[in-house]
């Protein structure tokens, strides 16, 4: 039974949501903010009657959350967070739903707090790589926080991709873990053992540290594959933990990609927001025309130094067009790698310069949402 204050908070939050929608806003943060302002305990109170599954990691949160929501919906109604709405108020907003299941995408820095508040049944930990360092500061700092909270959440089952040493370190003292390894994937920021600070020894994409941290001791070992494939596997394992049958996904179901017709051309958009996701995207099929869109707002990361840690060499031979608020950062980066892009003011000009019928668009976070949503 909900307390009178919580019921009041939900009422106000829901009216605010309707008002906000009337004004044309998508309105996922406002109701959550109001709910938490009136009842600061709303998240833990609302989570009490639900089976909660949380998903976190640098890359793949949104698509994996969608996949798990689809799997769990075989069991009953599912409350889930909207696209990328992964801070506390996003969680609060989703939890207002009466659905018995909640599948929530949670920001890396907010994860420990949300675990403590929701006492989740399952937490899926995808990966931790460099992202938005102006906010995260260091990958290790995020992993340290996870490590503490994962050790304390003794009722939760963690589904963890331990090929990532930061994830393995996060769950190393956790009570219930499904350790998943696909093997053969060297972590781009994994030169140092996050547990003991030693130089981490990697052999053919697998690691073993003198302190015992290794991806060779696993509960589930699978073949190598793309990020989309790996996340589909992790989603199904999470589903299995709460008794849902697996679903067979196509890789494209879990890629952060959207195809849209613009100015008579077929544009294939792909979300790229940090070194790991750029590298993944550059390995996918690219058309002759490639448009790179770079912004550096808060959620993109306000600094672009990391562009120099991505190899753009595969773009040689493509017609490369660069736009976005930080187009020059990108243009100069690839110029030094021997790729001469055309730099234009905006996306409309970029797409008009493309000559083929199909165009690949690799886009920063904020630009992705503006262009395809």
């Amino acid at each position: 039974m909900l307390s009178p204050r919580l019921r009041f908070a939900i009422l106000v939050a829901k009216s605010a949501a309707s008002a906000s929608r009337l004004l044309g806003h998508k309105g996922e943060t406002l109701p959550g903010r109001i709910l938490l302002a009136i009842e600061p305990e709303a998240i833990s109170l609302l989570a009490q009657n639900k089976e909660v599954i949380l998903v976190s990691g640098t890359n793949g949160k949104t698509s994996t959350t969608k996949a798990i929501a689809a799997i769990v919906s075989q069991l009953g109604p599912v409350a889930t967070s909207g696209s990328g709405s992964n801070l506390a108020w996003g969680a609060a907003n989703a939890l207002m739903s009466p659905a018995p299941y909640a599948v929530l995408e949670i920001d890396e820095l907010h994860l420990p707090g949300i675990i403590a508040q929701t006492d989740p049944t399952v937490v899926v930990l995808l990966n931790l790589t460099r992202d938005q360092l102006h906010r995260m500061h260091e990958v290790k700092r995020v992993a340290d926080r996870w490590h503490v909270e994962c050790s304390e959440a003794t009722d939760t089952v963690f589904v963890a991709d331990i090929d990532d040493p930061f994830i393995n370190y996060a769950i190393v003292n956790a009570t219930n873990v499904v350790r998943v390894s696909f093997g053969g994937r060297k972590h781009p920021d994994g030169a140092v053992c996050p547990r003991c600070g030693s130089y981490l020894h990697w052999t053919r994409g697998n690691y073993s540290c003198t302190c015992g941290l290794t991806n060779k001791i696993t509960d589930v070992r699978l073949k190598k594959g793309s990020a989309a494939y790996r996340n589909a596997v992790l989603a199904n394992i999470a589903g299995e933990v709460i008794g849902a049958a697996p679903i067979e996904f196509k890789e494209s179901d879990l890629e952060r990609s959207v195809t849209k017709e613009i100015s008579g051309k077929i544009a294939h958009f792909r979300l790229t927001k940090n070194p790991a996701s750029w590298t993944e995207a550059l390995q996918s099929h690219l058309h002759d025309d490639v448009i790179l869109v770079l912004n550096a707002r808060q959620v993109d990361g306000i600094d672009t130094s990391w562009l120099w840690d991505v190899s753009f060499a595969v773009l040689k031979g493509h017609r490369v067009i660069v736009c976005g608020e930080r187009a020059l950062d990108m243009a100069y980066r690839i110029h030094v790698e021997g790729i001469e892009p055309q730099v234009v003011e905006n996306f409309e000009q970029a797409i008009s310069l493309a000559q083929g019928a199909e165009v690949s668009v690799l886009s920063a976070y904020t630009a992705f949402f503006e262009l395809v949503m």
């Binding site: 360092l133 260091e138 290790k140 140092v192 030693s198 120099w308 243009a331 110029h335 030094v336 730099v343």
Partner: protein, 233 residues
């Protein structure tokens, strides 16, 4: 052959500073100066014949590993004594000092620069601009650290801070030596600094080859540098 030694990028590569080597090689090639980048990992010995040694930013544990590896044989100090160029950014800059401390421990540095780094109480994150005596225009970059670096008697600042924090004290950024080893540069500017400020890359090449190099027109590089300088607040 201009030998560019990129030191421990797997440890000191947390902030894109590897690009400094790429920019030097790119701009040297435009002057018909052949250049080679050699990546030295933690497990490799440091070559003695480098013309330019580059160190970048790192997380704490990686910084300490790199320092301990570089301590062996004092090769970097000897190279600097012999006139080699050393450019060190952020964590790399800190390990060149005489001492640096984290919240828990204190470490003796390589001593190429007379600076001491101590932990500060806030994170210094954002765009930074400095005015160095080496140039008659400001240099731009991005900083992200939480340390305070204090200059000793043998050191002077790399530049005055126009925007941002730099060393976190005295509105100064970075360090150079006052008398000896004038080709050693420490700074907090990421960006990478040489991508944002190609003139500095040219200065390092001149120092390394020991003479003036021909001018170069790279419109994109100039446009990029100019645009970032116009944004200085």
């Amino acid at each position: 052959m201009l030998e560019i030694i990129r030191i421990h990028n797997e440890l000191l590569g947390t902030y894109g500073d590897r690009g400094n080597a790429d920019v030097i090689k790119f701009r040297a090639a435009a002057r018909k100066i052949r250049a080679r980048i050699t990546d030295i990992t933690y497990l490799d010995p440091l070559p003695k014949n480098g013309d330019i040694y580059l160190l970048g930013g790192a997380e704490d544990a990686a910084q300490l590993l790199s320092l301990n590896a570089l301590r062996k044989g004092s090769i970097l100090a000897r190279a600097a004594n012999n006139g080699a160029v050393v450019l060190a950014i952020c964590a790399g800059f800190q390990i060149l000092g005489t001492k640096y401390a984290t919240r828990d421990e204190e470490f003796v540095g390589l001593g190429l620069l007379d600076v001491i780094t101590t932990p500060g109480d806030k994170r210094l994150v954002g765009d930074i601009a400095v005015q160095s005596d080496l140039f008659d225009f400001p240099l731009t970059g991005f900083e992200n650290h939480s340390s305070i670096t204090t200059l000793g008697v043998d050191a002077k600042a790399f530049g005055k801070v126009l925007q941002g924090n730099g060393n976190g004290v005295g509105a100064l950024d970075g360090a150079m030596n006052k008398t000896m080893n004038k080709n050693v540069f420490g700074t907090y500017l990421h960006g990478p600094i040489l991508a944002r400020n190609p003139e500095f890359a040219d200065l390092l090449i001149e120092r390394a080859v020991g003479g003036a190099i021909s001018p170069m027109t790279d419109e994109l590089a100039q446009r990029y540098a100019k645009w970032r300088r116009e944004l200085i607040k």
